[in-house]
Symmetry: C2
Subunit: 219 residues, 2 copies
Amino acid sequence: MAKLDIGKKIQSENDLVAAENRRRFADAGVLVMNLISSPGSGKTTLLEATIDRLSDRAKILVIEGDVSTQRDIERVRARGAGGVQINTGGGCHLSAKMVAGVLDDLDLDSADIVFIENVGNLICPATYDLGEDVRVGILATTEGDDKPMKYPAIFHEARLAIVNKIDLLPHLAYDVEKVTREVGVLNPDCEILTLSALRGDGMDAWIAWIEDRLSRKKE
Amino acid sequence: MAKLDIGKKIQSENDLVAAENRRRFADAGVLVMNLISSPGSGKTTLLEATIDRLSDRAKILVIEGDVSTQRDIERVRARGAGGVQINTGGGCHLSAKMVAGVLDDLDLDSADIVFIENVGNLICPATYDLGEDVRVGILATTEGDDKPMKYPAIFHEARLAIVNKIDLLPHLAYDVEKVTREVGVLNPDCEILTLSALRGDGMDAWIAWIEDRLSRKKE
């Protein structure tokens, strides 16, 4: 019982800070997307490809979450996006407080989109609201097609699921239909896009999805 | 401060139960290996291939850890191994207590090896001793070659790192040397094996590694 109460308290403190983050994002008029996946599913590569395709039309900022290293923020900065790296030092997810702690380092008012790349972990980040508008769950074809039911929490909350690395499908036994079906069972409102951030397949649909969200945000 | 103290208390309670597990495993004379990786790095496929190659010489039991589903225990049972599935119901790692809770369901005395397949997560399982003899960190080539420094904790504690899915190397930009070098920086005592559990490359070296451990255990 004691453990449950502690968990609830941490969660409700997180929710309070997340609500404050959400107000700040709304005041600045930015669209905020929280990207969640296993390590190595291609979140950073997706961000690189997205910045390449979208930065002439939208000002993009990135908040990078990792246990350690500056590797990911260096990669997105090399594509011309601004942003900050959060190192959790062993922590397995970003919290609303960690995100709140870097907001003063970002020029939110001049931005259109903030991508938050969460720590590579398909479990723990799913239960921490960061104040985002949209949660996106990313799977890679190389992880096998049994993942949605084995890691259901992220799909319960996600508005969009991305199946990345479809360029490798010819070399894998991976059933896209099965994954789509399982995500649909877990959350009928979750949209699904299949793409290869590396080769470019499906990137137009992803960019259109973001632009649709952006235009609804600005209405 | 309060959060840190709670963390320490949980850790020391876990260590006490892990020590008791370790005594039970030692009394039964079994070799126990704790397999840790991201979701979809191929832990279960590695177990299937290991059972196929080793079960004529060693009695193998498997403790499967997953957030939900019985999928993995069904896969290893189909290869003839005994074992049990632990569903953590949202929990991001196995604990010593969860493992202790299933030991009465296993015939340890008749077994030679117990594989514990941890929950798919490269972060949280690294800090929970389960009472195992050997901790093994598994990476897949498809996750990218930047992972050891981004997820250092598992490599600090692992006696063996496996780089799986080398059959896909021709289709990837993946630098095996870089990964080997980074693991060596994090832990000079960590051995490294590269293999493809699916195609069989490198499996002989892995089986020999286990048999060497097994023979040392029985001395």
